[in-house]
Amino acid sequence: MAVAPEHRKVDLREPPSWRSAKSRIATVLMVVAFVLVIVPLGFVLYTVISKGASIISGQFLTAPIPFNVAPANVGGMGPAVLGTILITALATVLAVPIGILAAIYINEYGGNRLLTRFIRFMADVMTGVPSIIMGLFIFAIWVIHFGYSGLAGAFALGCLMLPLIIRSSEEMLKLVPDALREASYALGASKARVTLTVVLPAALGGIVSGVLLAVARAAGETAPVLFTIFTVTAVNLNVFSGPNTTLAAQIFANASQPYVGAQARGWGAALTLVAIAFILMIAARLVTGRATQSPR
């Protein structure tokens, strides 16, 4: 078997040019960018945990807020914890049904009409409206007439959560395969029944996850509540009337205080708030994870 002589010798080693070096430098820069982001995040979390942990305790979470901000090692954030929970819960109850219904309209009933596309576009735009505007809005439309209350705060936070829930729910509804809907129609179900009994349950995991993330966002918001609940220090169980307070509002109030005691309480509230947001975020991930694994 004659083999013709090889007359081209090849060199397949790395070309000794700038090219691969540049590409590798680019990769390094990308990693550096990521590090640039981790570092401050790490600092913030470290500070919150270290400064907050020293003051947090069961007592801290339930003790009343001292009216006089100066003294240290006194009191806690009880009213604020309560306020955060109550007001955020009320906001969730207001925003979730409306948000899911709107998502259902956009995805199931709306079709490709101009109105539907406009609503979707505007819901997107609404996610970018600053939260302070929501506070001013409710102030102008409600507080002026009915006074400060937890309810007003819930309205404001609800307005904030609404577009987030609409967008995330709509994405989830879009993922439900048409085959499921068609099977249900073929059995003679009406559109409402199809949506409520087949589509919604199929998308439920993702929708709940989106809701949890919206709740985490709302719980941490300060600006919308500043103008609607009129931060006070007394506890107020009646969400529907009278001023109230939340963890976020208290952190804001304490942040600029020169007193060590007030600052310490602020850090304790910050740790509580971050913990709440963190737990909700993890819950949201777990729900999505379980939803994608459960058999349909």
């Binding site: 691969s20 680019a26 990769t27 990308m30 990693v31 550096v32 960018a33 990521f34 640039l36 982001v37 913030v44 979390l45 919150v48 409306i98 219904l101 709107a102 259902i104 309209y105 009933y109 709306g110 609503i119 576009f121 505007m122 735009v125 609404m126 970018g128 409206v129 600053p130 939260s131 302070i132 505007i133 001013l136 809005f137 102008a140 002026i144 307005c159 609404l162 577009p163 609409i166 009406s190 559109k191 409402a192 029944r193 985490a216 719980a219 941490g220 300060t222 600006a223 500043l226 952190i251 804001f252 600029s256 602020g266 850090w267 910050a270 708030l273 971050v274 947001a277 963190f278 975020m281």
Partner: protein, 333 residues
């Protein structure tokens, strides 16, 4: 067969035909109406926001007029409410935030889509999500109590000294005529805002970059391109438009971020190009001074809110439109 059953048959057929012709059940129509109402509520809220806040600020608009609104004189004691300083502050901190955040966010987006193997992508995304979940007020708290006091002696002061007398940079980052560098300042606010908008710019950039067709990327690699060359030749032209949209979105977000800015911007009504000086922004002044504002003062703050609303709406509409057009173009091609 018998006439009786024949009649019954025809009645049955007619009956079922009538059933087919029946209108949809009431429950179905009500449900659809409710869903539509929910959708329209979104539009209604946006309109109401504009209407109600404008209504409450007519005093200010009326008294100051166009020139008054955009004047730099902000003097509550003498009922002078010109908003230009705050508009400046909002614009400048947002621009700083975008300049700092966009290269970093796009780099991370590229890292996630082009470099990192799939298994490592999830933890990186988790970290970015963590960044997003930290509430604005906590960033502000950290900023005003830890970062600002630290950055002044360790970064600002040395930089200011080093740039003394340098032509352009000295004006911006050097020692200034209006006072020494301050911890709470335009730049500090811009920096913290940059941290806060990174997650959303990264996420949107990722979405945009992911729409680049794999086959185009393979085409570049098949020509013997390095990864950087492929990114510059294929990914960048495809995602340019979308990334512009992401930048605009980040800009809108930075303009509206209230609490973090309110705490670290320094609360000083001045317009200066010296970025290490304290300043003020629209959401910050509203947040800080609303509690003690009445009458025309309050009307002015609400009016500033109206301006902020319009500004962010415009930026957000632009951003979404740009992204939509880019996605359409890629899919069409």
């Amino acid at each position: 067969m018998t006439s009786h059953s024949a009649r019954a048959d025809s009645a049955g057929i007619a009956g079922s035909a009538r059933a087919l012709a029946e209108r949809r059940p009431l429950g179905d129509r009500v449900f659809q109406a409710l869903a539509l109402a929910a959708g329209l509520l979104v539009l209604a809220i946006l309109v109401l926001i504009l209407v109600s806040t404008t209504q409450q600020s007519t005093t200010w608009f009326g008294k100051e007029g166009i020139t008054g609104i955009f004047s730099t004189t902000w003097d509550p004691a003498h009922n002078k409410f010109g908003a230009l300083t705050f508009i400046y502050g909002t614009a400048i901190t947002a621009v700083i935030a975008v300049i700092l955040a966009v290269p970093v966010s796009v780099a991370i987006a590229l890292l996630l889509t082009e470099v990192v193997p799939y298994r490592w992508a999830r933890p990186i995304v988790y970290v970015i999500d963590l960044l997003a979940v930290v509430p604005s007020v906590v960033w502000g708290l950290w900023g005003v109590q830890v970062f600002a006091p630290w950055v002044l002696p360790h970064v600002y002061a040395p930089v200011a000294r080093a740039l003394k007398g340098v032509p352009v940079l000295g004006n911006v980052f050097g020692p200034s005529t209006s006072g020494a560098p301050s911890g709470p300042a335009f730049f500090t606010a811009g920096l913290i805002l940059a941290f806060m908008i990174t997650p959303i710019v990264t996420s949107l950039s990722r979405e945009v970059i992911a729409t680049v067709p794999t086959i185009d990327k393979e085409g570049a690699y098949a020509l013997g391109a390095t990864r950087l060359e492929m990114i510059r030749g294929v990914v960048w032209p495809h995602s340019q438009g979308g990334i512009v949209g992401a930048v605009l979105l980040g800009l809108g977000r930075a303009m509206g971020e209230t609490i973090a800015a309110a705490l670290v911007i320094g609360s000083s009504t001045q317009i200066t190009s010296h970025l290490l000086s304290p300043g003020y922004s629209m959401p910050a002044v509203i947040a800080n001074q609303f509690g003690e504002a009445f009458g025309e003062f309050r009307s002015a703050l609400l009016g500033i809110g109206v301006l902020l609303f319009l500004l962010t709406i415009i930026v957000n509409v632009l951003a979404r439109a740009v992204v939509a057009r880019n996605v359409q173009r890629t899919r069409g091609a």
